[in-house]
Amino acid sequence: MRPRTRRVGPVVVAVLLAATSIFHAQGVRPAQMRITADPLTNWGSTFHALEQKAGRITTRFADGSAVAERGMDGHIRTWLYNTAGNEIATLHAEQGGSMRLDVLGTTTLNTVRRPGLIPTLSWANEQTYALAKDNASSVMWHGEVLRGRQEIAIQQIEVEFEGGFAAKTIRYPTLYYTELALNGTRVGRMRYHPKERELTFEFPGLTKGVFTPEMLKVVGGWKFTPTMAWMHVQALAFYQFHSAVRAKQVAQAKPNWVVRPELNWFQKAWDAVFPTVQAQDGCTYLHWLDNTIYRPCCDAHDNCYITNGCGMYSWFWPFAYSWQCIPCNIRAFVCFQAGNVPENHVWVPTP
């Protein structure tokens, strides 16, 4: 009997240790939360398809900021920082619907999302901030956000989309302002006035206009209340959809033409077997002249540079490259002065 009694003690300790470790891991058991009468907004499948292109979103609040990232598995993870930049909470939202809040390393909330709620990165940031601010026992589902009575005041949202797109939305006293950039260059902007419910947008070369409640009456008015999180997705939609329309128009229209040296019969035969790479990027830093009579001058100059291995320094230091670079530059100057197709060059459509 004695040996058996000896074994009971370690088993009890092991069971207790296992129980406490499970408790530490789970923190708080999944809890059902109350839901207020505020309905969920149906943003539509197009919105969510575009929102999925966001890889990282930073949301700034008055007293901190939150960064959300979407993992390869579709789970969203958010880090909440105070104004000093110290991490104070993290939220882990799984595709299955569960979400867990850890504050300073301790799980303070473990629950499931409201049925029908599709998580976004902006939502995750707002949700993390709301839960970290309010006592977990006093929160309720207000629309998409599980929070206390007070609404969350977002000051700024910065988004990094795939494909080199980035957007920034700033809250001003009377409006939300969004800028969309592609590889660091601004490609469009939008303003929304919540009081007047008026949206103005401008994407140079693509589209620009205004949506007012009166104008939208024919389609039943605004079907949702635009938010700061909606602004950057809509900006991406404006750019991508209108770019696609423009690309289609260009493809259906007359092809762009470029100028190339006129080839003799031998060169044509040679080119058919060994095609030469031609410069077609237009007038560098003078792209407003790309569709004018000066375009041939730029293409001829680029081709001359490619053929002779020239560079920009050949303008003031002829020894840097081939001596042939000097005629390239002189011909460009003369061409710009005359504004016509260089000698022995013809217009050909782009391939």
Binding site: A181, G184, T185, R186, P204, G205, C283, T284, Y285, L286, H287, W288, C298, H301, D302, Y305, C310, G311, M312, W315, N329, A332, F333, F336
Partner: protein, 120 residues
């Protein structure tokens, strides 16, 4: 300071540089890469000349400032294969803008002087 290097000339010159940098920051890209940017730049420099170019020297200082600023931005961007032509063109466009802004201002001043002379 006297002659060309008056304080007001320096201020106008600096204003020209600021305008050039502002143009780049506002559009987020080089101003001669799109026609609407060229229009905005031209109109902007014209209005600036009308407001600040009280003399030919002020107009010259403004033009110089704008071109120093634009050339600086171009160098910062990398220059490109056609940089001397770009500088010449920007000089011409901004020169025309400054001239168009400066001329009506001079006309207004001249008319005011004539009116003043008649009154005497």
């Amino acid at each position: 300071m006297s002659g060309f290097l008056r304080r007001s000339h320096v201020l106008v010159f600096l204003l020209g540089i600021s305008f050039a940098i502002g143009l780049q920051l506002y559009f987020g890209g080089w101003w001669l890469d799109a026609s609407e940017r060229v229009r905005a730049g031209f109109v902007g420099v014209t209005v600036l000349a009308f407001l600040t170019a009280s003399s030919l020297a002020h107009a010259a200082a403004l033009w110089l400032g704008v071109n120093v600023g634009l050339t600086g931005v171009l160098v910062w961007l990398g220059g490109g294969n056609l940089w001397p032509i770009v500088i010449l063109l920007e000089g011409g466009i901004t020169g025309a803008g400054v001239g168009i802004g400066w001329a009506p201002r001079q006309l207004v001043v001249l008319l005011a002087q004539i009116k003043k002379g008649r009154a005497r």
